[in-house]
Structure formats: C-alpha cells, structure tokens
Symmetry: C2
C-alpha cells in the first residue's frame, strides 16, 4: 500500500511544480487590489505551442488502484482545479525508460500542479466528486503519449488514516 | 449605467475566448474516465513564452466603477477561476488606439476566459469575495502594458436587476 502525502513543492520538485500562493515572487498590481504571483511553472512545449484544454474527469476514491501510468515526451502538462475538488497525483521516477515505484500526492483545491516534460504520471483522479481542470499542455504534431500498464496494480491510500476506507 | 451581461462565447468573440464545457471538441481519454475538451483558446505570446501565474484579487461588488482599462500589446491573457468566485470582465473595442465604450460580462465560476492579444480590459474584479485565478500570459522582455484612465468612470450594474444594489 502506498500512502498519499499532502502535496508540497519540496516533495514534488523532482516531478514538477506546485502552483500555489506563497510569500515569494509576488507583485502588487491593479492599483493595489491584486497580487500577481509571477511565473510559477517551468513550461516546456518543445516544438509545439501552449494550449488550454478542459479535462472533465469522473470521481475516484480511496483506496485507489493505480494500474496505468503515462508520460508526454514532448511537453509539460499543468492541471488547474476549477471546481474545488482535491486531485490525487501519482508520479514515478524514470528508471531507464520505465516507471519506477510510484509516489502519491493529494493536492488541495487551491493548488495547481505542472508536471515537467516526460514525468511518468497516473491519469486524472479527482477524489470524491467529478472534477473540472484547465490543462495547459502542448499542442502539436506527432504522438506525445507513452503508456505503461502495471501487471499488478498499486493500491494508494488516503493521507490520513482517518480518511481511509 | 452599463448592465453586465452573462458571459457567452458568441457575445465575447470580438474580445477573446470563453473556455467552458460544450458538446464540441471533446475526446475521451483515460480509459473512458475523462473527457478532454481540446485547445479552447487562441494563445499568442509574440516573442515571449507562456507562463502560469496566480492572481489573488480583492473582492469587488456591483455597482462597479470602471475608471481604468489596460491592454497587453504583446500577448493574450487567460484567467482561470480556482475558488468558485464569479468574475466581472470589462472590455472595450479599440478605436484608433484608444478604448471605445466598455462592455461588461459576468463569468460563472466554471468559465475561464482568454483575452486576445491587445484587447482593452478592466483589472481583475472578482465579485463578492476574494478571487484566486491562474493566469496564462506572456513571460518576456519589454513593457507589455498600456493603461488608460477614464476622466469619468463608467458605472457597471449586475446582470439581473434583482441583484442591483
């Protein structure tokens, strides 16, 4: 059993960026009425261009069965939550072109994430309710998807034992 | 008094894109568990690159006083709502380099918008509560901001007369 961890920038840094409010990189704009937290993700679309799509994903729950991971060799992929649903993010280190042992993170609804180009990750997993996400990723030619299906699925449990079923 | 209109793609098309779920441009992914509504905005960052920032904006209310508009000559700018707060969007047609008479739209919390490069618009105006938005805009060198302050502010009222104060 893999226990999901609360999502933090430090813990996630090998896989991508956590896009969240901090006390850094903030500029006051709009006559003092708005703080701009500037340029929080490392975007990389190789030979393609940036696009914004919407992902409308069915609800999942804990314990979660992770049987499929994928990666996008030609671009980063950011997920911005739009309807206050926490997102389970599963990622794997790359081991000679194959996904290693997964790690799992549970993002709060006020955290977006940007998966770095080529990061192995599970599919969209909104927890407890249908989830709507704006996705910033590469628009371009060619196949930008590699998939690996695990012979034996990993079981992922909630961060807090009190939330486990 | 300018009455804000509900935001629709048709009404907004001269100014930008409405990023929302429709029955078009949808691909089934993730073993059938997710619909990808593909590439819904016309992004243009000229000589710069795409970035994701967070805007944390103070609450505004109706009737709203519009005294300042701005535009970004070198890039489009998308606003993705993250905390379920409706956004008042004010835009103006360009008239020989100056902003014409404003139009106002109220976006639902499940609608994101992308202002086309160079569109005159008011500053961030979350209605009724502090608003958190992921912003996809140009990261690059040079001054990408023109501002115009109206001598006499425009008054903007809520879409429904029952919501007016």
């Amino acid at each position: 059993m893999i226990v999901a961890q609360p999502l933090t920038a430090d813990a996630f840094s090998a896989f991508g960026d956590v896009i969240e409010l901090t006390d850094r990189d903030s500029l006051t704009i709009n006559d003092g009425m708005c703080q701009r937290h500037h340029d929080l993700a490392h975007l990389d679309f190789s030979d393609g261009k940036a696009g914004i799509s919407l992902f409308d994903g069915k609800a999942r729950q804990f314990p979660y069965s992770l049987d499929l991971v994928e990666r996008h060799p030609f671009g980063s992929q950011a997920f911005i939550p739009m309807n206050n649903v926490p997102l389970l993010i599963t990622v794997c280190p790359d081991e000679n072109g194959h996904p290693g042992t997964p790690q799992a993170f549970l993002a709060r609804a006020d955290q977006a994430v940007n998966l770095h180009r080529g990061t192995w990750h599970g599919v969209l997993a909104p927890i407890g309710a249908q989830g709507l996400y704006a996705v910033v990723d590469r628009i371009g030619a060619g196949s930008n998807l590699e998939e690996v299906r695990f012979e034996k699925p990993y079981r992922i449990s909630a961060p807090n034992s009190t939330n486990q079923k």
